[in-house]
């Protein structure tokens, strides 16, 4: 069975040009990249059941884009995730990180 993590990884691997990505928090030996993605499962919830068995589950995934140069030119995460069967949900700008200087955009996707 394909796990939700495999689905996200497969989707983000299609980004062109490629952008470094990993499960949050992005662990780096030394400096963090200037631009990278970090993904995380926020929650998986049972949506439907029949005869005491689960028949449908939803997964809420957050993909955060971090960039030191701002948020004007970003990888097409929407395109990659939607092509892999995810539905777009909320997105929000994250405060600039005072330590690393990265700006952030968190985008939520649902997989049913």
């Amino acid at each position: 069975m394909t796990t939700i993590y495999e689905r996200v990884t497969t989707a983000l691997n299609t980004l062109s040009p490629a952008v470094p990505f990993a499960m949050a928090p992005y662990k780096s030996i030394g400096e963090l990249p200037d631009k990278y993605l970090a993904y995380q499962l926020i929650t998986g919830a049972q949506e439907q059941s029949a005869d005491d068995s689960e028949t449908q589950r939803s997964y809420l995934i957050q993909v955060s884009t971090f960039s030191r140069s701002g948020l004007i030119s970003l990888p097409n995460v929407d395109g990659a995730m939607l092509a892999a069967g995810f539905q777009k949900s909320n997105e929000r700008q994250l405060p600039q990180d005072q330590q690393t200087g990265h700006y952030g955009l968190a985008q939520d996707y649902i997989y049913l």
Partner: protein
């Protein structure tokens, strides 16, 4: 790839029962929210507590649940963490470059949507003697 399904509140059949029984649905929803405001706050606190690797209590102080409100056809309460008081809740929920998120708001609301609203509504119906 095609969309796989749709998210629902899973309450349509219960609401139909109220209409059939000629109950005032607005009043039922108002009472349900009023009665369960403290529970929603407690649920947020509980999720916050169990998802926190370390505990300072800073985010817990910002949790709020509003009184029941009505705007047009919508009857609702607002619940969350007031990040104008302290940004800790923001960082916990969404993470930072060197900090994974420890989400508690979104899981709480998804739990309410998928499980708890139906259970709470069922309780109201049972109290009113309606079939569930």
């Amino acid at each position: 790839m095609a969309t796989h399904g749709r998210l629902t509140w899973n309450l349509d059949d219960y609401l139909e029962q109220f209409v059939k029984a000629e109950e005032d649905v607005d009043q039922v929803v108002t009472d349900l929210l009023k009665e369960n405001r403290p529970y929603v706050g407690g649920l947020l606190y509980n999720y916050l507590r169990k998802t926190s690797e370390s505990w300072t209590g800073a985010t817990a102080k910002t949790i709020f649940v509003s009184p029941v409100q009505k705007e047009g056809n919508y009857i609702f309460i607002e619940a969350g963490a007031d990040t104008t008081k302290d940004p800790a809740g923001w960082y916990k929920e969404f993470g930072r470059p060197k900090q994974a998120a420890e989400p508690f708001l979104r899981p709480t609301f998804i739990f309410l949507r998928t499980k708890e609203l139906r259970r709470l509504m069922k309780k109201v119906m049972e109290n009113m003697g309606l079939p569930t």
